[in-house]
Symmetry: C2
Subunit: 360 residues, 2 copies
Amino acid sequence: MLLEQGLITCSIGTIYYLRDAAIIFERGCEVIVRKGVTAKDVAKLAGVSQSTVSRVFFEGAMVSERTKKKVLAAAEELGYGPNEFARSLITNRTKIIGLVMKGVKNPFYPHVLKEFATAFKRLGYSILFVHTNNDEIQKDDIMTLLNYKVAGVIITDATLSLKVTEDFKANKIPLVFFNRKAGMKDFFSVCTNNYEASRHIAEFLIQKGCEDMVYISGNHDTSTSREREMGFVEVLKKHHVHYKKYTSDYTFAGGYTTGQQMVTENKVPSGIFVANDIMALGVLGALRENGISIPETTKVIGFDNIDMSAWPTNSLTTWEQPIVEMVEQTVRYMMAEIKEYSGVSGNIEVQGRLVERKTT
Amino acid sequence: MLLEQGLITCSIGTIYYLRDAAIIFERGCEVIVRKGVTAKDVAKLAGVSQSTVSRVFFEGAMVSERTKKKVLAAAEELGYGPNEFARSLITNRTKIIGLVMKGVKNPFYPHVLKEFATAFKRLGYSILFVHTNNDEIQKDDIMTLLNYKVAGVIITDATLSLKVTEDFKANKIPLVFFNRKAGMKDFFSVCTNNYEASRHIAEFLIQKGCEDMVYISGNHDTSTSREREMGFVEVLKKHHVHYKKYTSDYTFAGGYTTGQQMVTENKVPSGIFVANDIMALGVLGALRENGISIPETTKVIGFDNIDMSAWPTNSLTTWEQPIVEMVEQTVRYMMAEIKEYSGVSGNIEVQGRLVERKTT
DNA sequence: AAAATTAATGAATACGTATTCAAAATAAAA
DNA sequence: TTTTATTTTGAATACGTATTCATTAATTTT
């Protein structure tokens, strides 16, 4: 049947093998259809009521040790687990956190994803992953989250339209922007202190003897890029250091292109601050390819401290964003808001630190 | 209140600012508590029954165009969306796909994640993301998926114990191993044709003049690594080419260490096949650092064709795993099984292709 | 031992939807 | 128009759990 549907052909049209298909298919039909085990079934087997079974699986409910043991044994035997939907229908809350992410291709974010997944799992929460292609999250993505009655939402990489944010407020669903500030002031965000960090960076490069500088921005409309630029430029101005800004897009390719451009224009400066690491690696690639010696001629510093930056081949000086700490803060706020919604807005700024390597 | 809980301090103990906290907090309290809008509310506003509202939101149900319009308008006004839990409780199926992933730090997988997210969103499915640290997925992760009554499960990076697999069969939940074959033969998997690919690779290196070879494996217990080794070694044996095997772990660090080890042991061969790209980049780093010229002295080839391999600085020759096609196949199988469960087992093998760059 | 208190349990109900079945409205045929 | 067929709707019910309230069992106090 699968063969009839052409399922086993791959897109170039060749038919590949389907091991033991027929046999297994027959076996597939033989499988005994065990219906979904419910609390009722467990109750019957354990000789108690459904309520009692429910209580056994509900943290902190009142059950005697003896019946608890009995029920758990029955549950184990039947392979029972509480239906999360029925559960959520009653409690009107879920153990799901919506996580919205855009730039999965920047290694920074998979790392963040991993940390969130680990942290929330420990707390008994699951993650509904939403990928968005747009800088501004679309209405239907949000509707999905709303309809699943998620306990909270974390947006790592994008912003929201005002219209949509109201839905969250109205439904009392806590919302955190991670590594991004929302356009409006009315939400909570967790970021590195970009402003302070970029001031440090500027002073560091100046102290290293750089006399003309370049700032390579990420996507222009992001709060991170703007803040990093602001702090950096402020310090440069104070020291009367000449600088130029290139606008890029937070990708390796973007960094590489910008690097090439600087070489072509013959405008390679002595110090470059790149708004994130992955772009910085692109810049490095372009400069090194053109025989520019780093750090002698030009010093390059990135932002994030992704794993790759530490690789001996790259050895990129950068500003570390303490992912674990940022995640910790986010989770903490989230859990507090889930417990008792306040809708408070604000911004937690976490301090990072300079990681000096061979590009400066 | 948040301040009392110490939420606004970051872990180094400093207190950072919470913008407009008090004001917003007060405002937060003012927010009108709109209760979750239900079909009943919409029905009342639209002047129809709850059943009718339900039908409007249920694909293919019988409603007149006129009432549909009326209901949709009312729904829009109230911001209504069907409660997915109540819905799932009735239908006993969800629009959620469980996606289990281990190696998020290997760029190959974020890319896979993105493709899955995109493909399933188009089909109206959401993704429950499960991160696992272990090669073999743990019971409680699986219970989560089971309890959420996911429509299907994709496991990208790990395997399952036999005990657990039975739960899926029993609940008729389709399961696909992506880029990994299950230990037992009873499941469905989608992979690149690793065996054929590695034969090609062996022949390619031989033809390029390599006379002694090294294979650097990933985690030993993975099917991918074993298959890649098998094909590679078979061809080498046929041509009486000397080879040696190093066991590594699919990480950059692992590759780097292995590269260093080869240099130290003075056993750098003329051709190296590394079981994935990220390790290959580690190997490259180590070799280049030790002044070994590539591709003149040694040729290196990876597997995956992750974005980074194409970066000019790396320019790694590799075997491309056609992610989009693999995802497509997986989704196709999944949807067919969701529509009508067969439990058929088998293996779709997708052809990749050699991408020749500067390391060979 | 009796009374009073506390702990443990079960019966009944609500959550928000899909779905069945019967009734009503509409369209088509006579 | 009347009859028949068809489309559209509403009332009632089920899904699997948490929870309330009343009841029973166990424990403590008198």
